[in-house]
């Protein structure tokens, strides 16, 4: 199962998780990480804001796309990054298609489980757009700020 890891150095492919995976329901049932690195998988129906204390203990958060049409995890990822300041990996799992990859990266995902997906297709899709209108979780400067900078330079 290929995982794409996206950083400012580019897109890397590997198959390793960052640590041992624990589901949110396991956590709630009393399974607690002790030593080592751990990942937390969270259903897309959860309000991640209520998990702000828990997520800090994990090296990666896994968010779910049960169907590519179900876009709830985009909101979860943005809240994790922009409101809770989560710095670990946020990984997309499920129906992860290249045509949604650019949105995922903008929403704060930096890892995508793409299964047997076409790596080059993902690479192309992630960099399909040079500019973006909105502020989101990827730190990209939105178009209105680029315009302002251009005016200052002129």
């Amino acid at each position: 199962m290929a995982t794409l890891r996206i950083s400012n150095k580019g897109v890397a492919v590997n198959e390793r998780p960052l640590g041992e995976e624990i589901s949110l329901s396991d956590w709630r049932a009393g399974v607690k990480p002790e030593a080592g690195r751990f990942e937390l998988s969270i259903p897309n129906t959860e309000d991640v804001e209520a998990l702000s204390e828990i997520i800090r203990r994990f090296d990666a958060i896994i968010l779910e796309f049960p169907d590519f049409r179900d876009g709830r995890a985009y909101s979860q990822a943005r809240v994790l990054r922009e409101r809770l300041g989560y710095r670990g990996e946020i990984r997309a799992r499920g129906n992860v298609l290249c045509d949604q990859a650019a949105f995922m990266v903008r929403a704060g995902f930096d890892a995508l489980e793409i299964g047997g997906g076409d790596v080059d297709g993902f690479r192309r899709a992630i960099s399909a757009y040079s500019f973006h209108y909105q502020s989101a979780a990827d730190g990209v400067t939105p178009v209105h700020s680029l315009r302002a900078a251009k005016r200052v330079a002129a």
């Binding site: 309000d47 590519f68 049409r69 179900d70 876009g71 709830r72 985009y74 909101s75 943005r78 922009e82 409101r83 298609l97 045509d99 949604q100 650019a102 949105f103 995922m104 903008r106 929403a107 192309r124 899709a125 399909a128 757009y129 040079s130 500019f131 973006h132 209108y133 909105q134 502020s135 989101a136 990827d138 178009v143 209105h144 700020s145 680029l146 315009r147 302002a148 005016r151």
Partner: protein
Amino acid sequence: MYRYDEFDETIVRERVAEFRGQVERRLSGDLSEDEFKPLRLMNGLYLQLHAYMLRVAIPYGTLSSRQLRRLGHIARKYDKGYGHFTTRQNIQFNWPALIDVPDILSDLADVEMHAIQTSGNCIRNVTSDPYAGAAAGEVDDPRVWSEVIRQWSSLHPEFSFLPRKFKIAVTASDRDRAAVKVHDIGLRIHRNDAGDRGFEVLVGGGLGRTPYIGRTIRAFLPEIHLISYLEAIMRVYNRLGRRDNKYKARIKILVADDVEAFRRAVEEEWEKSDRPRLDFPLEEIMRVRRHFAPPRFEKLTEESASLDRARRDNADFDRWVATNVASHRQPGYAIANISLKPIGKPPGDITADQLEAVANIAERYSFDEARATHEQNLCLPHVRKDDLHEVWRALERAGLAAANIGLVSDIIACPGLDYCDLANTRSIPIAERIAERFADPERAADIGELKIKISGCINACGHHHVGHIGILGVDKKGDEFYQILLGGSGAEDAALGEITGRGFSSTEVVDAVERLVGFYKSNRQGGERFLDAYRRLGPDPFKEVLYGDVAHQQ
């Protein structure tokens, strides 16, 4: 008008390139129709009953002559020589071949147009008042905010896979020409008691199977916070909107469930949000605003002697002015509406030649600008009264001088079973036959404002719920029947029509409408419209007119 800069241009061009690649993968078989479907939908490409249909965005309905000519070119080169204006100020082409669609999008990009987000479960093309910048009584120019919303909502990373489609409309006038109360979000720009400008935010209006009038969740939002507040609404909807049932997935269901809880959730989300980062800065709003500076109007007197003379000399022109021309804020100017409802033709259709004719007229007489209205017509926003007669003659030569704006034959109808694979019944032939029945212009003018809206199925694309007379096609054991609703309105006095009773056959329904109109004419008081008379008299006498005789026979 707004003009693209290098950033807007690059985004639209990159979109075309991306879709060209996707179409190639579909044509080579790398993508199945199932995999391709969500991608084509994000570019406005539907698979209809007989062929693909491409819906082109006309942001807030504004069109330059150059854009109109390009639409004419597309109609001629890639379609059967015509296009169809929709109820959301967009234009549809009903016969493009898949292999041509990337070229069509590229042709559109040349004139700063696209088909982004004209379908799919995302924030759709924003709509507004077609009289923006022209009508008196505006608090602000709604196009400024519509353009800001267009940019913010384009390829939004968080809100492109919502539970269902999402429509936003903006008005800045007390006269609602954008139907803001029947949109997922309706924005009304106004001033508060302190004189500051802001938005009344309505949420959860909509038609379809379960119609609702939008609810105000915030009476006054300072204008600079528009985007952060929209983000808060969208996030609450993305999280909590139903995804288990397509027919309960629109935001109206979530709002109707508990409007107070919804309002609280939005306010809480907004309070927590990083507003300075999300809101578009004032300097960007001002940059956009400069694009909508008023054109260089001439200093004219309000009265035009040449117009008065031409009206006296020509009864047809006089009638057209009386029905199709609206008053302008600038002395000596007028707003000229172009009806796309000529008697006996499908509502909203326009030929390539006509698109070019409108382009020429707009270029010469209306500061290079035309607008699409949500009632499937066009208007020329800034015409000198002295020029109205020449404009009318040019429109007449193009077959575009129907004098019926707001009248009984100015009907909104969905494409119906003639084109749409959701429809149960035909809509266009019913609209054509009603228009033919009331073809006498004297009679239509005497009836006055009467909005008839026809949908070919309960999805309500013809807005039958908000017609003064609404007509809903239903399939009964393979036969087409038409139910009649009365008392609806999509304007500032928004109301949902009530179903009167059993449906009529396609041959009976025109007679039924005529009986209603006859009853109104013999019972109206003063300058009362059909809708006013209905509201005063209540539904019972109108039902009696519809069904009384039948009850006797049975």
